[in-house]
């Protein structure tokens, strides 16, 4: 009786003629298995380094954006604060989230965990996010008691993947102070132009909603003709639509709507 062990099986497979069907399948399977293990292993091992790099880049963008906003240095100097206040908010309640430690807050993990995120119905999910984290880390800049600037992380699914951005609003909570795209995977040369400083420079001074409170800011097809429009990018209609939907969604009732209402009525106390 032939001894049957993994080693003899291995030898028997190797001894098969190369053109036999069994060997073809076995080799294809082994190569796929080894390559899959290699790729997944590298990704898992290197993920922390890459996340640290991305976080550093986000911080850099935040700093760069702060440096570009007009008059920001004056406000910083007068308020005595050398940086922004980071606050974690509960989106649905429009209030400071109790019991969420900023040190452990991780947006991606919170958005994926059913316990800390909300599934959006197809009608509400205009930004294509699927799930939305219940908590977000926002940044405030205050001069005494006056709110001067609020930075809100926003995201939407674009043509090539998720678009992440920081939207800065002035103290009136309706005028855009700036938009900084912090992450995207749009088509190079077309949709990817949203990440260019020239396009982002179109945003400051635009207004989110009109007097009736309707959210109107969007990326136009072609040139902008009002204070609620941003010049579109030729050949990147779907990216432009995604950015428009991103603003509509995050300024609306499922995004920062409750928080902005609370800020306007003065009930939000960070």
């Amino acid at each position: 009786m032939a001894e049957f062990s993994p080693l003899t099986l291995w030898r028997r497979i190797l001894a098969l003629p190369n053109e036999s069907r069994a060997k073809t399948v076995a080799v294809a399977f082994m190569v796929a298995l080894v390559c899959a293990a290699l790729v997944s292993g590298t990704t898992v091992v290197l993920r922390p380094f890459q996340d640290a790099n991305r976080a550093a880049e986000r911080q850099e963008r935040l700093d760069a954006m702060m440096a570009e906003l007009p008059g920001m240095e004056d406000i910083l100097a007068r308020s005595g604060a050398d940086s922004l206040e980071a606050v974690i908010v509960d989106l649905a309640a429009g209030a400071v989230a109790e019991g969420v430690d900023p040190a452990v807050f991780n947006r991606a993990a919170f958005a994926a965990d059913p316990a800390t995120s909300t599934e959006l119905s197809a009608d509400d999910d205009i930004a294509g996010l699927g799930r939305r984290s219940d908590f977000q880390q926002i940044y405030l800049l205050r001069d005494g008691d006056d709110l001067r600037l609020i930075l809100l992380p926003v995201s939407a699914v674009g043509y090539g993947g998720r678009i992440e951005a920081l939207l800065a609003l002035e103290g009136d909570l309706n005028t855009v102070a700036g938009l900084s795209i912090t992450g995207h995977s749009e088509t190079p040369g077309l949709g990817a132009r949203i990440a260019e400083p020239g396009w982002q420079a179109l945003w400051p001074g635009k207004e989110i909603a009109d007097e009736t409170g309707e959210i109107r800011l969007h990326v136009a097809r072609g040139g902008a003709s009002s204070v609620f429009e941003i010049d579109g990018i030729t050949g990147a209609t779907r990216t432009g639509n995604a950015v428009s939907n991103m603003i509509t969604f995050w300024m609306g009732p499922f995004g920062y709507g409750p928080l902005l209402d609370a800020l306007r009525s003065g009930s939000f106390r960070p």
């Binding site: 053109e19 060997k23 080799v27 190569v31 390559c35 790729v39 990704t43 290197l46 890459q50 880049e57």
Partner: protein, 219 residues
């Protein structure tokens, strides 16, 4: 010269993958705007090429002929992903500048060409040397093109100014054409002309523009 030494140096000038075989042109255009990106790309490609040729040569007797190309490309693609991930982890800025071109090493004919043309029928040592030689040949051309484009396009090398530009009070006007992809075509063309003027045997014979597969495989 010993045969191992020749195997290593032959692809650098005499049988250069870029200037003689005209392979890997796409990345040679895209990543040569500066010497630093050209160098990173060269290192990444050489590493992938050596690793893939070694692995494929190691298992060459057990690769069924019917699926050999798929097996080769799977191995190459996995190694490219690993190289890209390593760059993203330890050279983030550089990987952002190279954008998709590290990932596109997988479509570089040079890598598959060496796997199919050499590693499939030669031993591990010879395959690794051949891959290293071809990687060096590719790197050599990339570095020349990258250096020319960076010096004449920005007046700097590795970011350090070598020619004083007008903007900084010097005399040199940067050639904006050098920053655009067509300039790499011009430089590559001139380079090929130059090499073939010196090494006349590299000139293609009339009517045989495409070298037959057997001829190309000759060492």
């Amino acid at each position: 010269m010993t045969s191992a030494f020749r195997r290593l140096l032959d692809p650098v000038i005499d049988n250069n993958p870029v200037t003689l075989q005209i392979l890997g042109i796409c990345s040679a255009l895209a990543v040569t705007t500066s010497l630093a990106t050209a160098l990173t790309m060269s290192v990444a490609l050489t590493a992938v090429l050596v690793a893939s040729s070694t692995v494929i040569s190691l298992i060459r007797r057990h690769i069924p002929n019917a699926i050999r190309l798929i097996v080769q490309i799977t191995i190459i693609a996995s190694l490219v992903i690993v190289a890209d991930q390593i760059l993203q982890a330890f050279a983030w800025q550089m990987s952002q500048r190279l954008s998709i071109f590290v990932g596109l090493i997988v479509t570089n004919c040079l890598v598959l060409g060496r796997a199919e043309g050499f590693a499939m029928r030669n031993g591990v040592g010879a395959s690794a040397l051949d891959a290293l030689g071809n990687g060096l040949g590719y790197s050599f051309i990339l570095l020349i093109v990258g250096a020319i484009r960076e010096v004449f396009g920005t007046g700097a090398l590795f970011g350090h100014p070598v020619l004083p530009t007008l903007a900084k009070g010097g005399w040199f006007t940067p050639l904006n054409l050098m920053m655009l992809a067509p300039s790499a075509f011009f430089i590559l063309g001139l380079l090929i002309w130059f090499i073939r003027t010196i090494k006349v045997e590299q000139v293609e014979h009339e009517g045989t523009a495409i070298i037959s597969a057997d001829e190309a495989r000759k060492p």
